[in-house]
């Protein structure tokens, strides 16, 4: 009974979304205020209804209601409650439901947090959002309804994919979806602005907060995915250039570019056209990502549901959205051009290059991801484009972007004084070079050019950001603490994220080039030495859990003959799906991870064991943390400025 209510709620929300979309056609016959009120109540009721049906589905999972096909396929009586809840978005139907849930909430937030925006723009944004919601709700109701019944009702469910039974996977999809769906905000903004044919710089300031928010969630989502892969897949890797990963990475690159071009648009009133186009492209990439993941047409380690029909629907939707919005763009965008001069040494130019390289990188990744599809559908042979392609092209294109960060930090709008810019840059460049040389020689004894280059770029970025913070704080008056507190939050935001990138690069480079990896067969009571740490294989014990049984290896680690930690890597066999899963055991500290994973049992007492020593891998997560901190400053630190603006108007 209750499940039928969930279904009905979804149908009502679909109808309401249709009504919300229809508001756009009553521009002449209804007053703006009335249309605004309509939109407000429509979007809030849609959010409430979808939230309720989402909760009903969650309730069905928690009470083991296997009469629902979706629950029966993705849950089990013995599953832990946390995972029963996260199983709601563990497969196709539920994750699309999560998608519309997030979208309806974004939609309500737009309308609730739009005080300083003109109502006509917001109404059109919400109406277009209504169309998007309608498409996804229809998709849910007709081809992937989580409330579909199954008969006869099975006694027990088929269990959640064991790979998804991990803490990292509880919050990874929601975060990613919030980010994905967040890209629809600049998209509907772009459409609304194109329809209305006017744009103001304050609007861009308002939009930028939304873009930062969605960028932040996308960053969190992607890094959680990496973190999960590192812990769960047992290969010690955290990024595989898998098509599904690329599908989330492309919108990230595009939205990062958008973030930067919006700064220029807001501060200088130029690149507006480009920002609008980029907004459309970013959302298109998000949709493309959903299509690639959900249709199962790509060869991927993420083996999700393969259903060509669903893929076809999303593909149609995708073509429709991209096609119509690009047509609109080319018809209307010429109204939005502002002409202003800027010189090659200006901040505008640096950010132009940033956008150029980010877009090219996105394109190169898109090509590598889609080419196998194109080639196999045109019968040119089955090709796969592997990690080496992406690694090469990505690092080649990232070098200039990272190198440009420091000049961009020091240059100013319109035109920078060449002399002072070069003076500062040469100073920072010189000391970063020396610092890099010293660090690499003392700690790593290296002469690999790539490592030197990457480390230099990272240090260059961090050093110039820190110096900039110092310079900005120097102009403030008062005590040191007051000086730091008075730094404008926008510079904090930019500097933290850039330092984050620097730290991320250090983490990636060092962990890539100086990892020590051993794959060997170990006998009981034998020892292995890895980087001054000796690891002893004590034995293997059996363990029984609620929904899986596992073999737990016991390893003791000694440093200079002093015991310091034990590792308990597991090999789990899940009862229902009979899957074998490797759970690696990791000991993390600031500068290194030790990673132990259990392989096959070769003979009675000997096991294949995989041990990694990964220096600086933790820097990856610290870097991401700093980037997110930068994002937070970007969103919340700007309130003061906006208040001033509002008062002035």
């Amino acid at each position: 009974m209750i499940n039928e209510i969930g279904n009905i709620f979804l149908s009502i929300s679909a109808t309401l979304s249709l009504c919300m979309f229809a508001v756009i056609f009553f521009k002449k016959s209804l007053a703006t205020n009335i249309r605004f009120t309509f939109c407000k109540y429509f979007s809030i009721s849609i959010s409430i209804l979808i939230t309720l049906s989402f909760l009903i589905l969650a309730y069905a999972f928690l009470t083991d209601d296997f009469s629902l096909r979706y629950v029966a396929n993705n849950s089990n009586i013995d599953l832990e409650n946390v995972y029963k809840f996260s199983a709601v978005w563990g497969a196709h139907e539920g994750s699309i439901l999560l998608w519309v849930l997030v979208m309806s909430i974004w939609c309500s937030l737009i309308i609730l947090l739009s005080k300083n925006m003109p109502k006509t723009i917001i109404i059109d944004m919400i109406s277009v959002m209504g169309l998007l919601l309608l498409f996804f709700l229809v998709f849910i109701l007709f081809s992937s309804n989580p409330f579909d019944r199954v008969f006869p009702v099975p006694l027990n469910g088929r269990d959640l994919n064991p790979l998804l039974q991990d803490p990292g996977l509880i919050i990874h999809p929601p975060m990613l979806y919030i980010g994905y769906v967040g890209t629809s905000v600049p998209f509907v903004f772009a459409i609304s602005v194109l329809i209305n044919g006017s744009i103001k710089l304050e609007w861009i300031a308002w939009l930028r907060k939304w873009v930062i928010a969605s960028w932040m969630f996308l960053t969190i989502g992607i890094s959680l995915g990496s973190w999960w892969a590192y812990h769960e897949l047992g290969w010690g890797g955290w990024w595989f250039w898998d098509p599904v990963e690329n599908a989330s990475f492309m919108p990230w690159l595009a939205i990062t570019a958008l973030l930067h071009s919006l700064i220029v648009s807001e501060k200088r009133g130029i690149f507006i056209n480009w920002s609008i186009l980029l907004s459309i492209l970013t959302f298109s990439l998000s949709l493309l990502g959903t299509f690639l993941v959900r249709s199962g047409i790509l060869v991927s380690v993420h083996a999700f549901a393969n259903d060509p029909e669903r893929g076809l629907y999303i593909l149609l939707f995708l073509t429709l959205i991209i096609g119509s919005s690009l047509t609109l763009y080319f018809l209307k965008s010429n109204i939005l051009i502002f002409h202003k001069q800027y010189s090659v040494s200006s901040k505008e130019f640096a950010l132009l290059l940033n956008n150029l390289f980010l877009t090219i990188t996105t394109f190169a990744i898109l090509l590598g991801t889609l080419y196998p599809l194109i080639s196999s559908s045109l019968d040119l042979g089955k090709i796969s484009v592997g990690a080496p392609y992406f690694n090469f092209i990505f690092s080649a294109l990232m070098l200039p972007i990272v190198f440009l960060m420091s000049p961009a930090i020091y240059s100013s709008w319109k035109k920078t004084n060449y002399k002072s810019l070069t003076k500062k840059l040469v100073f920072v460049l010189f000391y970063s070079l020396i610092l890099t040389y010293i660090i690499l020689n003392i700690f790593f004894e290296t002469d690999v050019f790539v490592v030197f280059l990457a480390m230099f770029l990272a240090i260059f970025t961090i050093f110039s950001s820190l110096l900039k913070i110092y310079q900005v704080s120097k102009t403030n008056k008062g005590m040191i603490i007051k000086k730091i507190l008075n730094i404008p939050s926008s510079s904090f935001s930019n500097l933290f994220s850039h330092i984050g990138i620097g730290i991320l690069i250090i983490g990636i480079t060092i962990s890539n080039y100086y990892s020590v990896q051993k794959e060997i067969i170990m006998q009981k009571n034998s020892e292995i030495i890895i980087k001054n740490i000796s690891i002893k294989f004590v034995g293997v014990q059996n363990k029984l859990s609620k929904n899986y049984s596992s073999q737990v290896g016991i390893f003791d680690a000694y440093s200079d003959n002093n015991y310091f930690v034990s590792f308990f890597p597991e090999k789990r066999t899940y009862n229902i799906q009979k899957n074998i899963m490797t759970e690696a055991a990791i000991d993390s500290s600031l500068f290194r991870d030790i990673y132990v994973a259990l392989g096959e049992n070769v003979s009675e007492d000997s096991w294949v064991v995989r041990i990694y020593y990964k220096p600086y891998i933790q820097f990856l997560w610290y870097g991401v943390g700093l980037m997110i901190l930068g994002g937070l400053f970007g969103i919340f630190g700007r309130r003061k400025i906006e208040k001033k603006l509002a008062n002035a108007i």
């Binding site: 994919n161 790979l163 897949l233 047992g234 290969w235 199962g296 060869v299 380690v301 993420h302 083996a303 393969n306 150029l356 090219i360 190169a364 090509l367 590598g368 080419y371 042979g381 089955k382 090709i383 796969s384 484009v385 592997g386 080496p388 392609y389 090469f392 092209i393 080649a396 794959e519 060997i520 067969i521 090999k571 799906q577 009979k578 899957n579 074998i580 899963m581 490797t582 392989g599 096959e600 070769v602 003979s603 000997s606 294949v608 995989r610």
Partner: protein, 152 residues
């Protein structure tokens, strides 16, 4: 001589820069692509000598039952894969993915040393037991269709 105004000079410089950037980017892309795209072959294609020897390729098939051998307690293993029709043997040194088993589908990257033997660098892990690598599934379906036709 045509005299160029300042703006048209600037424009020419801009166009030159653009072309330079565009062509170097394309060159980079083509280089990376030609070096790193890997072709997929089936055992039948390999036996028919349609695949190149000593080149990095991908192959896939089903692991033949009772063909798995481990060389005296080491990481060196060998097995045979087939596509219902032809079969070739595979050598590999390293840890096998959790779901590797006889009778299951598998995809590998590596090199052929001759038209009967493949040396794998990487054996791909797949997520669940029901899952078949799409390439293998596709290949097996074609073979089965062919067999049905022949039976009729």
């Amino acid at each position: 001589m045509i005299k160029l105004t300042k703006t048209s000079k600037k424009r020419i410089v801009k166009i030159c820069i653009f072309f330079f950037a565009f062509s170097s980017f394309s060159a980079l892309l083509i280089y990376a692509f030609s070096k790193n795209s890997v072709y997929f072959y089936t055992p039948t294609q390999i036996i028919n000598k349609e695949a190149p020897v000593e080149k990095y390729i991908r192959i896939g098939g089903m692991v033949k039952k009772k063909s798995f051998k481990r060389k005296d307690n080491s990481l060196k293993v060998s097995f045979i894969i087939h596509d219902l029709d032809k079969s070739i043997s595979v050598n590999y040194e390293g840890i096998l993915p959790d779901l590797f088993a006889e009778g299951q589908g598998v995809v590998m990257t590596g090199r052929l040393i001759n038209f009967n033997t493949f040396v794998a660098d990487e054996v791909l892990a797949k997520h669940d037991e029901n899952y078949m690598p799409p390439e293998v599934a596709d290949m097996m379906k074609k073979k089965e269709d062919l067999k049905e036709k022949n039976d009729k």
